[in-house]
């Protein structure tokens, strides 16, 4: 049997999904966290049933791609759990009543039930059940309250198939239901309201956003550096290095296996940034440099997401983003891109038009460096001084703006206006934030580690086959002439296609000047996305638009790199 979890955006479907199936998915406090769909299984008596977490939709008459997915999927469902935000009954019932018109059994989960009390909302559940003609179960996703009742009553799901002649008639019915089941009592002005007022105010909001941004950078840096200095570096230096040295001795301190596994010894010692063996650099880059920043970034992002700050940032950024052919909501995929471009490009589905999705995906690929790349930039370029890191970030930001301005004038189609719900501030339990962090961090280890090791292996093999000398000579005119880089850097830039972090790592032994480091890392960040992002770009935009986007990236990177070479 197939059960669909459906409901308006940001009502807690993904949290309920995790509760029902034990499968963990990413849930946040903004509409549109789930853009694809996630499957999980629930044991119902003897039967194993499939549960699908459907993207949120306000209506079965779709207005965006994510909503189209939802409407399409309804055709396959054999039972629908309609998740309703109890604090927003009237608006949520629109979808409920649309679902009740369809020939599919429905059960209602009245979620966020705990929130109704401190908001002064009283709902007569028995009466609501009677009026709708389907079971209604109050639930609290984050604590798990009511989940058992929900599962127990699944077989009671009913199919009233009440139809309405028009949407006006449906709204009239909703008004009628709400007036019978819901009563409001006085609610206190809490400090959450004060916080909401401040961050909504145009001037206050801008100051607040700058504070949040500054705090974000500080905390990420603090946590990332902290883990590197006090955990991963000591672990590698005291435990891993002696082990590798012994292994190297066994392998005879040279030869094929030594070169592949441990790499070149620099002055008889392992240098984790320069040796480039599978077990030295191949493990060190992802686990010792990148992982700490992944943990730090996703910890802060998780809090911002779950608290519900991002939609407010979207409102604030709307005017600027309109100049780039986007609207405020595009800030959400953009911020996700600072973690990894893959989920960021997928998240562009929350944007309505094809034009917006193309612009957003291209801009993310050009101007938004992922956490792995950033960790390496901070590590390597930062050694020369933080002002150089600032130049890299500044160049990326300027490219992001300028390419956006150009695309806004050249790409055909239209960009609609912002229309979005702003969720209330919520404070999820730390456990929920921790679970989400673990999900993302373990995802990084599982997906990135094999590619990093593969990339390091490829580098070693190509070195042995002397392929790089050949490529380097061909690319030399562009690199030296336009960008002012030694021809050896072409190797690193080519490897950027596999993994950007490994590519920056390959710049380390080249002895580049600060200027050359700035140019090469900026170029690397902009020129083309890594292979994982390529695959997602092709899937989301289609092969033609993906090639078009790639052309734009290469052109922008060459121009920016050339300019930096002239200016610096």
């Amino acid at each position: 049997m197939k059960i669909l979890l459906m409901g308006n955006p940001n009502v807690g479907k993904s949290v309920l999904f995790s509760r029902l199936t034990g499968t963990h998915t990413i849930a946040s406090n903004y509409p549109g966290t789930t853009v694809g769909f996630t499957k999980g299984y629930l044991k119902l008596g003897e039967e194993q049933v499939e549960i699908i977490d459907v993207p949120g939709t306000y209506t079965l008459e779709p207005t965006s791609k994510a909503e189209e997915v939802a409407a399409e999927m309804l055709k396959e469902g054999e039972l629908v759990i309609d998740v309703v935000d109890a604090t927003n009954l009237e608006r949520n019932l629109n979808l409920t009543l649309q679902l009740l018109e369809r020939p599919v059994p429905v059960i209602v989960a009245l979620n966020m039930w705990d929130d109704t009390h401190h908001r002064g909302i009283n709902i007569d559940v028995a009466k609501l059940e009677e009026l709708l003609g389907v079971p209604v179960v109050p639930t609290v996703g984050v604590t798990g309250q009511g989940i058992r009742d929900l599962v127990r009553r699944l077989p009671e799901a009913a199919t009233p198939q009440t139809t309405y002649a028009s949407s006006d008639e449906r709204w009239a019915k909703i008004g009628d239901i709400v007036s019978q089941v819901q009563s409001l009592s006085h609610r206190h002005h809490t400090w959450r309201d004060v916080l909401e007022d401040v961050s909504n105010h145009p001037a206050g909001g801008a100051v607040f956003a700058l504070l949040v941004l500054a705090a974000t950078f500080f905390v990420i840096r603090f946590i990332g550096e902290g883990i590197i200095n006090y955990v991963t570096d000591p672990l590698f230096n005291w435990l891993w290095t002696p082990l590798l040295m012994k292994l190297s001795l066994v392998l005879g301190s040279g030869g094929f296996w030594n070169d592949i596994l441990i790499g070149k010894l620099i002055n008889g010692e392992i240098n984790y940034l320069q040796s480039f063996g599978l077990l030295s650099t191949g493990i060190y880059i992802p686990l010792a440099i990148v992982l700490p920043y992944i943990v730090a970034f996703y910890f802060v992002l998780g809090i911002l997401e779950d608290v519900g700050y991002l939609p407010r940032l979207a409102v604030l950024m709307d005017t600027l983003l309109h100049r780039l052919g986007l609207h405020g909501y595009a800030i959400i995929p953009t911020i996700l891109g600072f973690g990894c471009n893959v989920p960021a490009v997928m998240a562009t589905r929350i944007l309505e038009s094809r034009r917006e999705r193309f612009i957003a995906a291209t801009l993310i690929s050009i101007g938004i460096p992922c956490a792995a790349l950033q960790a390496m930039i901070i590590g390597l370029v930062g050694q020369q001084g933080m002002q150089y890191v600032a130049i890299v970030y500044g160049s990326l930001f300027v490219s992001w703006i300028i390419v956006g301005l150009i695309l806004n004038h050249t790409v055909k189609g239209f960009s609609p206006e912002l229309i979005m719900e702003i969720p209330p501030y919520r404070f999820p339990p730390w456990r929920v934030i921790g679970e989400k962090l673990w999900l993302r961090v373990s995802g990084f280890i599982k997906e990135a580690l094999p590619i990093v090791l593969g990339a390091v292996l490829v580098v070693n093999i190509l070195y042995m086959l002397k392929v790089f000398d050949f490529i380097a000579n061909i690319a030399a005119p562009v690199l030296t002439g336009l960008l002012g880089l030694p021809k050896e850097t072409v190797v690193a830039l080519a490897i950027g296609f596999l993994r950007k972090d490994v590519a920056v790592g390959m710049l380390a032994p080249l002895g580049l000047t600060a200027k050359q480091l700035v140019i090469s890392t900026t170029f690397l960040a902009m020129v083309f996305p890594c292979v994982a992002t390529f695959v997602i770009l092709a899937r989301e935009l289609g092969a033609r638009d993906m090639l078009k986007a790639t052309g734009i990236m290469i052109a922008a990177a060459l121009i920016m790199g050339g300019l930096l070479n002239l200016i610096l």
Binding site: Y58, T59, E61, T63, T87, N88, E90, R91, N94, R119, I121, S167, W171, E196, N200, H201, P202, P311, A314, V315, L316, D318, T319, H327, G328, P416, E417, L418, I419, M420, E421, I422, P423, P424
Partner: protein, 83 residues
């Protein structure tokens, strides 16, 4: 004597409340506004608007929403100034 004036949501002052009278737009716009709870007969409170014709933030029932300036300009509200 009760004074009722009709203006658009974009013209409202922050903090003012009005009753939505009509959406001056096509079916698509009506449907999308309706989805987040903005439809004729509802009371809408403008929370504020961003500078430079940026988005307008408003509250309808329990929902807070932000909509583009152009959209806000297509929402006709009636304000009772006698109170």
């Amino acid at each position: 004597m009760p004074q009722k004036i009709q203006i658009t949501l974009a013209q409202m002052e922050a903090g003012q409340t009005g009753t939505v009278i009509q959406i001056l737009g096509g079916r698509g716009l009506i449907r999308r506004l309706e989805a987040i709870g903005i439809r004729p007969g509802k009371k809408a409170t403008k929370i504020n608007s961003a500078l430079f014709r940026g988005p307008v933030t408003l509250r309808v029932d329990q929902t807070q929403a932000a909509i583009g300036f152009g959209m806000a300009n297509k929402i006709l509200v009636e304000i009772d100034t006698s109170t």
